[in-house]
């Protein structure tokens, strides 16, 4: 498999590898994929009270394209609002990394990881609002998953 230079760069120098505290109410965690399929991505977003993504960390089990796709999206989502992050399309990842057709599923997984992390964040925020702790006026609309 011949990879693009961008894939190799992200693979060899992955950005934002690591974990955030999954119990932090401002952290949304998305875990997508399955070991049997050969790809599992964990994406964590730390989202400020203003709805802006302050930090992003990932861990990925998968091929070079899967690792590069996850690394790329952590760069892309930082500084975006959750609503902006929700609009990231897998086709943009494919284009940026020049992924071949056989690796398109890696980009789909990365898009799903963003959506899953935001859904988790929104669920936490909704639960928090419901229990009356630290109700937040700017909290994104109630989440129902993706």
């Amino acid at each position: 498999m011949a990879y693009s230079n961008k894939v190799i760069d992200h693979y060899e120098n992955p950005r934002n590898v690591g974990s955030l505290d999954k119990d932090d109410p401002n952290v949304g965690t998305g875990l997508v994929g399955a070991p049997a399929c050969g790809d599992v991505m964990k994406l964590q977003l730390k989202i400020g009270d203003d709805g802006i993504i302050e930090d992003a960390k990932f861990k990925t089990f998968g091929c070079g394209s899967a690792i590069a796709s996850s690394s790329l999206i952590t760069e892309w989502v930082k500084g975006k609002t959750v609503d902006e992050a929700m609009t990231i399309k897998n086709s943009e990842i494919v284009e940026e990394l020049s992924l071949p057709p056989v690796k398109i599923h890696c980009s789909v997984l990365a898009e799903d990881a963003i959506k899953a992390a935001i859904a988790d964040f929104r669920k936490k925020q909704a639960a928090r609002a419901a229990t009356g702790q630290a109700a937040d006026a700017r909290q994104p609309r109630a989440a129902t998953g993706k």
Binding site: M1, Y3, I8, Y11, P14, V17, S19, L31, V32, G33, A34, P35, A36, C37, G38, D39, V40, M41, K42, K59, T60, F61, G62, C63, G64, A66, I67, V102, H105, V108, L109, D112, A116
Partner: protein, 409 residues
């Protein structure tokens, strides 16, 4: 000090031509270019004589009684096709049943698939957890319609060596022909077609330090005399079983490769086996959850197929790009299916995705093994730090209990 890069550890895929083999071949391209079938001048006679010497050397390596039992082909894929299709076609009036195993090479399995479409019945035997075929399962599968059993000598992915002598015994007793794809095993482990009661054996030169594009099918001549229908028609070369002008330089190289092995294979297998053991010991000393796929006891000396749990195989190959190896990971195949051989062992798909095949051979050194082991240990650690599965496993989460179906594609 790093050894010369890149390092080749993919000897199951192919091997370099031994310089001694190349030297033997060279004259047969230029000044001795004759057609071995030219019966009326010295160019042809010289070529024919060289071919017969090579035939003798190949026959001798595998314990065949006469050189005439060696039929030259373009390679082992053709040999497998000729054995299966040739026997099935010739014996179609007596039976139509073939027995093989799930872990055979695609040249056997896909030839069987075609025969099924043409009316044959094929039994694909399961293998044991260590990759071995149970001879009793062969016996139980034989019916009065069975014409051929085809079980490989050694597996190309996991290196598992099959109980050929026991299976040969069963087949001879039942009066069924026995073919073995001996490509990976010949010159590395024992193969004696007489004592093991093998009737047909596929061989390839490029797996044993000979040239690509030349192979052979051993076809037993006596007790029993094996009959098969050719799949290539033409000038009636090779006792009518395989027409086509002989590849004389290739055949000379094949013969030379076999002569070298006849003299050296035991020592070479011992040396390569100790390199393999050294590699495994180093990996297991520094990493947890290194799973060996297939039998360690019944195994090609140069084969090490291991799964590094929680690390995807293709990602690891990318990380060790100065080392040529193979993976059973789906990501290295166009089909996105993990290795059918590993799955036939009952290995979970996640471990199949994590497998790497190291194939050691004649020109590997201890220095290379040590350097590769250190590199792999370092990269597996890095990839595990990046792996959510490793993190979950270390946190005590049973990955088997996680409902991945919500997330799966």
């Amino acid at each position: 000090m790093a050894p010369k890069l890149p390092i080749y550890m993919d000897y199951h895929a192919t091997t370099p031509v031994d310089p001694r083999v190349l030297e033997a071949m060279l004259p047969w391209f230029t000044e001795r270019f004759g057609n071995a079938a030219s019966r009326n001048h010295s160019f042809g006679w010289a070529a024919e004589k060289a071919v017969e010497i090579a035939r003798q050397r190949i026959a001798s390596l595998i314990g065949a009684e006469t050189p005439g039992e060696i039929i030259f082909t373009s390679g082992a894929t053709e040999s497998d096709n000729l054995a299966l299709k040739g026997v099935a076609d010739f014996h179609r009036d007596e039976g139509n049943h073939i027995i093989t195993a799930r872990t055979e090479h695609k040249a056997v399995l896909d030839a069987c698939k075609r025969l099924e479409r043409q009316g044959c019945a094929v039994t694909y035997l399961d293998v044991e957890r260590d990759g071995r075929v149970d001879p009793a399962a062969v016996r139980a599968a034989i019916t009065d319609r069975t014409v051929l059993v085809s079980i490989m000598l050694a597996n190309n992915e996991i290196g598992t060596v099959q109980p050929i002598a026991e299976i040969g015994e069963v087949c001879r007793e039942k009066g069924v022909l026995f073919h073995t794809d001996a490509v990976q095993g010949v010159g590395k482990v024992e193969l004696d077609v007489e004592s093991m009661k093998v009737d047909l054996a596929s061989l390839s030169a490029h797996k044993i330090y000979g040239p690509k594009g030349i192979g052979a099918l051993y076809v037993r001549r006596k007790k029993p005399r094996v009959r098969l229908a050719p799949i290539i028609d033409g000038g009636g070369h090779e006792r009518g079983m395989r027409s086509g002008t002989l590849n004389v330089p290739g055949i000379v190289g094949f013969g030379e490769a076999c002569a070298i092995l006849a003299a050296e294979w035991r020592g070479e297998s011992a040396r390569v086996g100790s390199l393999r053991d050294r590699l495994l010991a180093k990996l297991q000393a520094s990493l947890d959850e290194v799973h060996v796929n297939g039998s360690l006891e019944h195994r090609l000396p140069g084969n090490l197929n291991v799964s590094f749990a929680y690390v995807e195989g293709e990602a690891l190959m990318m990380a060790i790009k100065d080392v040529a190896v193979s993976s059973g990971s789906a990501c290295t195949s166009a089909s996105l299916e993990p290795s059918y051989v590993l799955r036939a062992l009952g290995i979970g798909e996640e471990l199949a995705h994590s497998s790497i095949r190291f194939g050691l051979g004649r020109f590997n050194t201890e220095e290379e093994v040590d350097w590769v082991a250190d590199l792999v240990v370092d990269k597996v650690r890095k990839l595990r730090e990046m792996s959510p599965l490793y993190e979950m496993a270390k946190a005590g989460i049973d990955l088997g209990s996680v409902d991945w179906s919500q997330n799966a594609h």
